[in-house]
């Protein structure tokens, strides 16, 4: 299998699995238990928190563990929107956020908040000046993703965060696609809230974290015991948290090498595809992008059909985001970039990872043009252009 779907999920690193293993059956305590078995788990929990905090330039108590990126986004947005309710009810986000952000804002709209969904340009970029113009005296929170999961396009969050600070707004970024792939220091980019998910950086699924800057108030969303300084109840998922810390540590130690590695492969892939297949578009090519992501639009054919045919050939990719794979609508991200529906339907996302090789990319470049040819042959469109 050639796996090119790392923005959907990554396999656990073997070192991560090894780090987790002792915590399932040996050091299995509940960190809330006062006896030694519990305290041993508590210690692992706090050591993991420290590791993660260090990776981000944060303080330990600024890291809140969650069940993943989705929950982190929900907690950040809903938790702070309501904490600031008395200050104002206007929130700002972008049109191209992940559904774990967008759907929270849509729910908040029904509950009485007003939300501005900032548009993006054809590269998928939010314009900081547009953001500035959308600020009102009632604005309290802005949430702009760091890198888009479908296109890999990196938003100008440094600028947006600074503007947010200037205007006294809380700034949240969904960094699920960047933490682990890039280096991120909360001292350099002044974010108040940042979401991450372990399974995007070779850690386990079902665990993530929210960075909550000291002093930022947050209404907890899951209530119960006094875990996570009252911000998130529920027995802590010690093995997975240990795994996440290990995964982040590994990713941080190697991110530059990995960056170069996947970027080289990705560029080779894009060049090969554009040379071999007519009428294809690389989305966001002229914008800052994650080094591993390539969203390709292939005219006259549909994305899922390409995906399945690639799968027949042992190549795993995605068409848009994995989350919307059940839906009939084309990607809201591509539509927001201004692509017409029929073009947006023809999307394939290649997202590379550390273990991909030149040979694998070569195979894709041999196989993919035939698949496109086969499907274009089946298609009623585009023949006249041949």
């Amino acid at each position: 299998m050639i796996y090119l779907d790392c923005n959907a999920t990554t396999p656990c690193d073997q070192r991560v699995i090894e780090a987790m293993l002792p915590f399932f059956a040996e050091k299995f305590g509940n960190p809330s238990s006062l006896h030694s078995i519990g305290q041993e788990a508590k210690k692992a929990l706090e050591t993991s928190r420290h590791t993660i905090a260090q990776c981000l330039g944060a303080e330990d108590q600024e890291i809140i563990f969650t069940s993943g990126g989705t929950e982190a986004n929900n907690l950040a947005i809903r938790g702070s929107a309501y904490a600031l309710w008395n200050k104002g009810n206007h929130l700002i986000t972008s049109a191209i956020e992940h559904h774990a952000v967008l759907n929270v804002f849509k729910a908040l709209e029904k509950e009485g908040f007003q939300v501005t969904y900032l548009p993006v340009d054809e590269n998928g970029l939010v314009d900081p000046q547009e953001f500035k113009k959308s600020i009102t005296p009632r604005t309290t929170l802005v949430s702009i993703m760091h890198a888009n999961n479908e296109t890999g396009v990196i938003e100008p969050i440094q600028e947006i965060a600074s503007l947010a600070k200037e205007y006294g707004l809380l700034f949240h970024t969904d960094a699920v696609q960047t933490i682990g792939k890039l280096s991120f220091n909360v001292k350099e980019i002044p974010v108040d809230l940042l979401s991450a998910s372990a399974h995007k950086f070779y850690g386990p699924k079902g665990v993530g974290f929210l960075y909550v800057k000291k002093g930022v108030r947050l209404i907890p969303q899951i209530l119960g015991g006094p875990h996570e300084r009252g911000k998130r109840a529920g027995t802590e998922n010690v093995p997975l948290i240990v795994g996440m810390a290990k995964a982040l540590e590994i990713a941080q130690a190697n991110w530059e090498d990995e960056y170069r590695h996947v970027e080289e492969l990705r560029n080779r892939l894009e060049q090969g595809i554009t040379e071999r297949i007519r009428e294809v578009t690389v989305v966001g090519k002229n914008a800052p992008r994650l080094p591993n992501t390539s969203m390709i639009l292939v005219k006259y054919v549909e994305g899922e059909a390409m995906l399945l045919n690639l799968d027949f050939a042992g190549i795993c990719v995605s068409s848009g985001s994995a989350c919307t794979s059940g839906s009939l609508e084309p990607s809201h991200v591509l539509l927001s970039c201004g692509y017409p529906h029929e073009i947006a339907h023809g999307s394939v996302r290649f997202s590379l990872g550390r273990s991909n090789t030149v040979e694998e990319i070569q195979t894709v470049l041999e196989v993919f043009p035939h698949i496109v040819e086969k499907l274009r042959n089946i298609s009623p469109f585009g023949k006249e252009a041949i």
């Binding site: 006259y300 054919v301 549909e302 994305g303 899922e304 059909a305 399945l308 045919n309 027949f312 059940g326 839906s327 009939l328 084309p330 017409p340 529906h341 029929e342 339907h345 042959n377 089946i378 298609s379 009623p380 469109f381």
Partner: protein, 131 residues
């Protein structure tokens, strides 16, 4: 999510392409929605002698088109018209709920191509003339 049968038809779609001088052509769907099916029929003595298709769409759209051409080949027009979308889906060992609309499209494509044929025949037979 797809049955083996769907994947098999996607892998090896039957009866792909145009028919030169078809007796009936049906085009259904809309590129905006991501699915367009064109069905071409060759009909003689009320029997569908040949059927071909062109489809822009997802795996299910291609597979339903493919199985639909198989289902109608050799059938009488009446038999072909009686094929429901359920029958198309069943012939593929089922479709996921969100893909059932592809089988509807296939049923419509058959119907549309046969109607085209019947309309043309009425014109040929002079039935279309204003009396």
């Amino acid at each position: 999510m797809y049955s083996e049968k769907v994947l098999e038809h996607l892998r090896n779609p039957r009866n792909v392409g145009k028919i030169e001088n078809p007796d009936g052509v049906g085009k259904v769907g809309n590129p905006v929605c991501g699915d367009v099916m064109v069905m071409y029929l060759k009909i003689r003595d009320n029997i569908i002698e040949d059927a071909k298709f062109e489809t822009f769409g997802c795996g299910a759209a291609i597979a339903t088109s493919s199985i639909a051409t198989e289902l109608i080949k050799g059938k009488t027009i009446e038999e072909a018209l009686s094929i429901t979308n359920r029958a198309v889906a069943d012939a593929l060992d089922g479709l996921p709920p969100q893909k059932m609309h592809c089988s509807v499209l296939a049923e419509e494509a058959i119907r549309s191509a046969i109607n085209d044929y019947l309309a043309k025949k009425r014109v040929e037979n002079g039935e279309g003339r204003i009396s």
